[in-house]
């Protein structure tokens, strides 16, 4: 399996761009994909179900110490922080909320940065709070590629704009451009 990994975070207004990105990927997209999407803990339809209906890849909700899998989208369960424990598996915690959020994008991105270093890409989508910016900056510091959804294309631009203002985003792209970038990365890794 590819040791390159994709991490995506989003909040308010992020489901539409997320589907736009993931629906364009082929079923044999090799890098594992991991998502933290803020959602109401009580809502009946889960992010996992919504994504699974709109994406050719296998979509699973992560259990504690769950493994990274190829051709798979891993979704953080509501109410738990999601950490990258090492290159093989995740871990969960119920530590206090960060930016009023659990799962927090900062938690996922920061732990991913320390494990995957320059072998990852992190993407921050539409959202109405500052979660994710610090994590994105950590990914960048460790040599990973960082992308913020272009504020113009975002339903709520606060989240990507906070990251851009912090200098955390190496690229600022629309959802369509993000999927093209992921396809190119996949091609490049398939050649290795």
């Amino acid at each position: 399996m590819s040791d390159f990994s994709v991490f995506i975070g989003g909040s308010a207004g992020s489901i539409a761009p997320l589907i736009s990105i993931l629906s364009r990927l082929p079923a044999n997209f090799s890098p594992s994909i991991t998502l933290v999407i803020h959602s109401n803990e009580d809502s009946k339809s889960t992010v996992t179900d919504v994504i699974a209906n709109n994406c050719p890849l296998t979509v699973i909700e992560i259990s504690d110490k769950g493994h990274f899998k190829s051709n798979t989208v891993h979704v953080a369960p509501g109410g738990y922080h999601l950490y990258v424990e090492n290159k093989k598996h995740f871990s969960l915690s119920i530590d206090k909320k960060i930016h009023f959020s659990r799962p927090s994008i900062d938690v996922l991105f920061t732990s991913a940065a320390e494990v995957f270093k320059n072998h990852c890409i992190a993407i921050l989508l539409s959202g109405a709070n500052g979660d994710g910016a610090e994590g994105l900056l950590n990914i960048k510091k460790h040599g990973g590629l960082t992308v913020a959804q272009s504020p113009a294309s975002a339903q709520v631009d606060i989240m990507p704009q906070t990251a851009i203002d912090k200098g955390a985003a190496a690229k600022v792209l629309s959802p369509k451009e993000i999927s093209h970038l992921l396809l190119r990365i996949n091609d490049e890794y398939s050649l290795l």
Partner: protein, 295 residues
């Protein structure tokens, strides 16, 4: 790697970052060793990523510059010992958390436990007590409170003191009532609590069936022999090896055909315990110790 390379100028920054990371991880190792030597608590089996985040939070809260500064604090200020342990372990609980599991306990497990003349239930990692209170209410409702002892244990002495009082950390709210109902409860949850000064206290006749004790899952032996062991949202903080140690402990404490309940997002998959324990209800996370002859 062509696409993800960000340019030569960042490579030096990257080297800096990696050096910092290496130093931090060394500091964490030393801190954990210091905590073990000073207090006897071994945190080395904790899942790395989440304990690192809590340690970094402690650096902020203690207003020191580096993780290694915490070592000096630990060694020279006596009150920091228990404060560090309590900050680095997690204590979150609520009444009837994961109601689906409580519903299955009520409908499938407790009727079986009724066949025993007396029952011991071990709640490992009880935090502020809400799980033990919920269990006492459930037992009362199915008529099994009499002749049942709930043993609630935790590593954290502060939360145990709190749990012993029977007073809820947060006043009863709609969420509690909803989870109680989803657990099969039909009464009014508030009838099990007395209220004064906006605080809710568990009724004494329920509290009398719970004993609270200090116990360290990682270092202590089996706490008691039990028909039912609950350990929920505790093992998520352990690494895989330590999870197996904890599961061995729980398995050894169970009587034959006794039940184990774990947290909603925890899993026995990829552990040897898939073979030792029979899955009773996977979504409810209820398992049963097999008869030794059948293993």
């Amino acid at each position: 790697m062509v696409i993800t390379r960000q340019g030569e100028t960042t490579i030096l920054d990257e080297q800096d970052t990696r050096l910092t990371l290496k130093t931090e991880n060394l500091e964490i190792k030393l801190l954990i060793t210091a905590i073990k030597e000073k207090t006897g608590y071994d945190l080395s089996g904790y899942a790395q990523a989440s304990i690192k985040r809590r340690i970094k939070q402690l650096v902020v809260d203690e207003n020191v510059g580096h993780i290694s500064d915490l070592i000096a604090k630990l060694l020279h200020s006596p009150q920091s010992e228990s404060h560090f342990i309590n900050s680095l372990t997690v204590n979150v609980s609520e009444l009837f958390r994961h109601p689906q599991s409580f519903l299955q306990l009520r409908e499938s497990v407790l009727p079986y436990l009724a066949s025993f003349p007396r029952r011991d239930i071990w709640i490992a990692g009880c935090s502020t007590g809400e799980e033990a209170y919920s269990m006492a209410i459930l037992l009362e409702e199915v008529g099994l409170l009499k002749n049942t002892q709930i043993h609630a244990t935790d590593i954290n002495t502060d939360v145990l003191k709190k749990a012993q009082t029977g007073v809820l950390s947060k006043a009863l709210n709609k969420g509690d009532a909803a989870r109680y109902q989803a657990s099969g409860g039909t009464a009014s949850l508030s009838k099990y609590f007395s209220t004064a000064y906006n605080k809710n206290k568990l009724s004494q006749f329920l509290l009398d069936h719970i004993s609270f004790s200090h116990h360290n899952i990682l270092q202590d032996q089996v706490f008691c022999s039990a028909q039912l062991v609950l350990c929920r949202n505790v093992m998520i903080y352990f690494d895989i090896e330590t999870q197996c140690h904890a599961l061995t402990l729980f398995n050894n404490s169970l009587v034959q055909n006794g039940y184990l309940v774990i947290g909603e997002k925890e899993s026995l998959i990829n552990t040897p315990f898939c073979r030792l324990l029979k899955t009773i209800d996977e979504p409810a996370k209820i398992y049963q110790r097999k008869n030794l002859e059948n293993v």
